[in-house]
Each structure stands twice: as structure tokens, then as C-alpha cells.
Symmetry: C2
Subunit: 306 residues, 2 copies
């Protein structure tokens, strides 16, 4: 079994972004700018946003850190986005999800200018992905595709099974895997014989948000296993089952353990490649966000992508 | 084996559209209008367009029949579409494909106002379908979903296998089947063990454009088989293999035979339900086009759909 080191690959991608940002800055005296919009004070959202801003700083992308109260009216949030849409100094707009329940997420996402939608969540970008046109692709799915390429894992003709049909991962990932000529199956909570289907996968992607859901009986010997889940658990037995001694120690030390949707300890004995959690898919998501911000900057200035 | 009678169901749908168009006309003194745009004089395209216009007349939808020379410049075609976008009397715009090679189809489709895109091909409509939002759905895939419902064929939890990954059928159909809680697999020319995968299907959809491609060894006993292909053949032996005596006679009489992607004669002995060609999926496509035109009319006037 080889570990798919998302952390290492992510650093490589970030370094490439940094180089190109420097090059463009020398040429144009301008750097890409990402505006992050955080509504309310969800602790996890705060962590995510600050991590994104830190990564911007690391690669030379400017950031604009917009914090709005959770009581904000939908119309006022849309006005804020309108300002960012019209501001030529802003190249990417990221509205951190989830939003408070009184705000219509679909309306907000559709309101972001597609050319600044660095999350790749806008209907226009998803529709262009379906049509096979170049667009800003959703970060996590595209990160997975790029990770597979880095390890020379061929997708063409392979049976790819995705567990989970979310808008953020499952559905766009299916389209991206199809684009790579994979045969793609999407399963979900309503699927029958999930084990059997998963076991037919050459490449298995778990994106359901259930800690340790994928056990060895879901996995064919030699399969590539991509774990998109990030779940926090505090049960010691569970921690041991999923991650072994390391997991146990983490709970004793920190009181919690981050685990994926895959029972890592046991499944890693069967898989040919597997992504760890943390350090697998997670870091790639953020490096693709940086790539998308750079791409958006170039699109907006008519600079061709390589 | 029961035949899925697309022709009969299509008549039912058209009757429902007709009733609602009449009702709205009485209320608003306005009827929906579909503008068809035909570029050049491809004989098949001419037939398709005239069939659409005839169906409009049948259900009381107005039509605007725009014919443009194949030499038209892309810019002039876009101007024409712009006029239709801005014309409040036009509710649906259908640009008949294919377009001449000097015209960028993607540009043209993206240029149609999404709210008038009755083909459901615009990125915004496809993206909204992916996001689970209501939109104008592509006609053929949505026709298939509605056909299954008419025959009380449950999709939830079923293994649905689609052969073909086109933008017009395969990919949007996958999203629609997911929406109905099916487990969905998309195969294509690069798929390996296509037979084995097809044979696992409870619901098998063939949309590849290869006459008689799906033979009994692709089909599980009792499967539902949906044949999206429409292919014209003239070989007598082939005609007999796919359709039996009927096929042979058609060739002798007309010189050609329309067949699907499924070897109908043999597969219909195995399937629980099967769509014939012609008279299966084809007529539904056109009735959904009428539904979409009516839906677009209502969306544009802020009239709620039931």
C-alpha cells in the first residue's frame, strides 16, 4: 500500500501557484485577490476561512477578509456580493458555507459572478463542466483528479465508484472522472447492495461524512481508495478501530480525533493506494482554491492558461 | 414483456399541455410561443423542426419559424438570438442542432436566455439540475423519467446503467436518475467489461447511436430497457436480426429501416419492459419540448407550476 500524500502534493501545487503569481506580479504589477465572506461566527467556518487567508499570504495572493453578522438580511448580503462582483481588484469571491438558515444559499451562489466563483459552485460553472467546457471546477473534486495524475494512477477504463452524491463532491467528481474516461457509478444512502458495488471499484471514493463507514468488505484487493470525509470523533474504541494506537493517543491527548469515511487501519492493508485523513484530500482542496483564484485572475485579464 | 408505449404517453402529455394552454389563453388572452431557428438546409434538421412546429399547432402553442442560410456569420446568428431573447412575445427558443462547423455551438447555446432555453442545454439549466434546483430539463432525459413514472417503474434503489455520456442524454439523465434515488452508472466507448456492467442493470438505457448494439448478453432477465437510439439502416440481414420480419418488410418497401441501439427482437424476450423504436423515447422528447415551452411561458409571467 502506498499513501497518497495530499499534503506533499498540495505543497508542490502551492509552490507552482506562488511562482506564477510572482511572475505575473513582475509583469503586471498586480496580484490576484481573493475575497472571503464569512457570515456569523461558526467556529469551524472561522478556522476554514483563516486557513484560506493564510494560504493566500503564503503564495502571494491578496485577500480581503469580509465578516458579516449572522443577522444580516439576505438583500444586504447580495449587495455585498454585488460590490465584490463589480470591484475589479477582486478576482475571486468565496462565500463560506453554511449560511444562516434565513438566507437562500442557492440565491447567493447564483449571485456570484461566475468568472469570480473560485469555489466552482455556480450553476454556470457546473453546467460548463457538464458540457465539457473549461470552467472553474469545484476544488475538492478537481484536487482528487490532480492527485491521481500526480501518482500516475490511470482513470481511463477504470470502474470508479463514488459513495455520496453531494453538489460539492459526488456529482461534479462524477463528471470529472467521466472526462478522464472512467466508468463512473454514483451510490448513496438509498443504494442497495452498496458493499457489492463498492467492491467492484478500481477507484473508490468515499464522500459521505460517516466516520469509518468503508470497512474492508467494501474494498477490492488492490483498489485505489480516496477518502473525502473529515469527521471528529471522541470514542476511544472507535478511534482505535479506525486508526489504531495513533488514534487512541490522539483522543487521550486532545480529546478528539479527526477521521475519514474509511476505516483506515484495516482498509490500508487491502488498498494499493489510500489517502490518509488528515493530510489527504483536505490540503488539495485549498491548493486548488489558490489555483482557481489565479485562473480567475487570468481569465478576467484575458491571459491564456497554459 | 410489456412495451413502453412512448407514443401513447406522449399523446397524453400533449393533451395535458393543450388543456393548460387553453386555460391560460382564456385567462390571459396569450399563448406560449416557441421560436425555432434552423440554420442551413440539413434534411433531417428540416424534418425535426417541421415536426416540432406541427406539434406546437396541435397543442395551441404559437410558433415562429426562423430559417437562416448556412453561410450566416456567427455574429449575425447571435444577433438573431439576441432579438428573440428580448422579444417578450417569444417564450422558448430552440436552435436546431447541428450548426455549420464555422459556428461555435457552445457560444450559441450560452447566448440563449436560460429562461427561454426550452431544450435545457444552457449551462445555467444544466448546472441548476446538478444543484438540485428546478430548471428547464433537457427533453429526452426528462421524457424518460416521466415515461418510467407513467408505468410505475420505481427508480429508487435500482441499479441504473446508462450507455453513452452525451450532453444531450447521458449526463443529464444520470443527474435526473440520481434525483429519483437511483444508483447510477455511466458507461461509454472507453469502458471495459461493458457487458458485465450492463448486465447488472435493473434499468438499462442505451444512448450511443449504434444500431442493435445491445444484444441479449448485455441484459439481465427482467430488466427495464430504454432505447434512445434512432439509426437508419438499409441492410436486410441486419434489419431482420434487429426487428424480425417487420424489419425486412420495411426495407423492401421503403429502402430503409429505423432501429434503436437495442436488438429489439431478441432483447424483448428478456426485458420486463422495453421501448420500441420508433414510438418509444422519440415522441416523448417532443412532448417535453411542449411542456418546457409552457413552463418557460409561466416562469416568464410568474405563474406558479403545480
Amino acid at each position: 500500500m502506498e499513501k497518497l500524500d495530499g499534503k506533499k502534493i498540495s505543497e508542490k501545487f502551492l509552490f507552482e501557484v506562488k511562482k506564477e503569481v510572482e511572475y505575473l506580479k513582475n509583469r503586471l504589477n498586480k496580484s490576484p485577490v481573493l475575497a472571503t465572506v464569512l457570515v456569523g461566527d461558526n467556529p469551524a467556518s472561522k478556522v476554514y476561512v483563516s486557513r484560506k487567508i493564510k494560504t493566500c499570504q503564503k503564495v502571494g495572493i491578496g485577500s480581503m477578509d469580509i465578516k458579516l453578522p449572522s443577522s444580516i438580511r439576505e438583500g444586504d448580503l447580495l449587495n455585498e456580493i454585488d460590490r465584490l462582483n463589480k470591484n475589479d481588484d477582486v478576482n475571486g469571491i468565496l462565500v463560506q458555507l453554511p449560511l444562516p438558515p434565513h438566507i437562500d444559499v442557492e440565491k447567493v451562489i447564483s449571485f456570484i459572478s461566475p468568472i469570480k466563483d473560485v469555489d466552482g459552485f455556480h450553476p454556470v460553472n457546473l453546467g460548463n463542466l457538464l458540457r465539457g467546457n473549461d470552467s472553474l471546477y469545484p476544488c475538492t473534486p478537481f484536487g482528487i483528479i490532480k492527485l491521481l495524475k500526480e501518482y500516475d494512477i490511470q482513470v481511463e477504463g477504470k470502474n470508479c465508484v463514488i459513495i455520496g452524491r453531494s453538489v460539492i463532491v459526488g456529482k461534479p467528481l462524477a463528471l470529472l472522472l467521466l472526462k478522464e474516461n472512467g466508468t463512473v457509478t454514483i451510490c448513496h444512502s438509498k443504494s442497495k447492495n452498496l458493499k457489492e458495488i463498492s467492491k467492484s471499484a478500481d477507484i473508490l471514493i468515499a464522500a459521505i461524512g460517516k466516520p469509518g463507514f468503508v470497512t474492508p468488505d467494501y474494498v477490492k484487493k488492490g483498489a485505489v481508495v480516496i477518502d473525502v470525509g473529515i469527521n471528529s470523533i471522541s470514542d476511544k474504541n472507535y478511534a482505535f478501530r479506525i486508526k489504531g494506537e495513533v488514534g487512541l493517543k490522539s483522543i487521550e491527548k486532545k480529546g478528539y480525533l479527526l477521521v475519514g469515511d474509511v476505516e483506515y487501519k484495516t482498509v490500508s492493508n487491502i488498498a494499493s493506494y489510500i489517502t490518509p485523513v488528515p493530510g489527504g484530500v483536505g490540503p488539495l482542496t485549498i491548493s486548488i482554491l489558490m489555483e482557481n483564484t489565479l485562473k480567475a485572475f487570468k481569465l478576467q485579464r484575458g491571459i491564456k492558461n497554459d
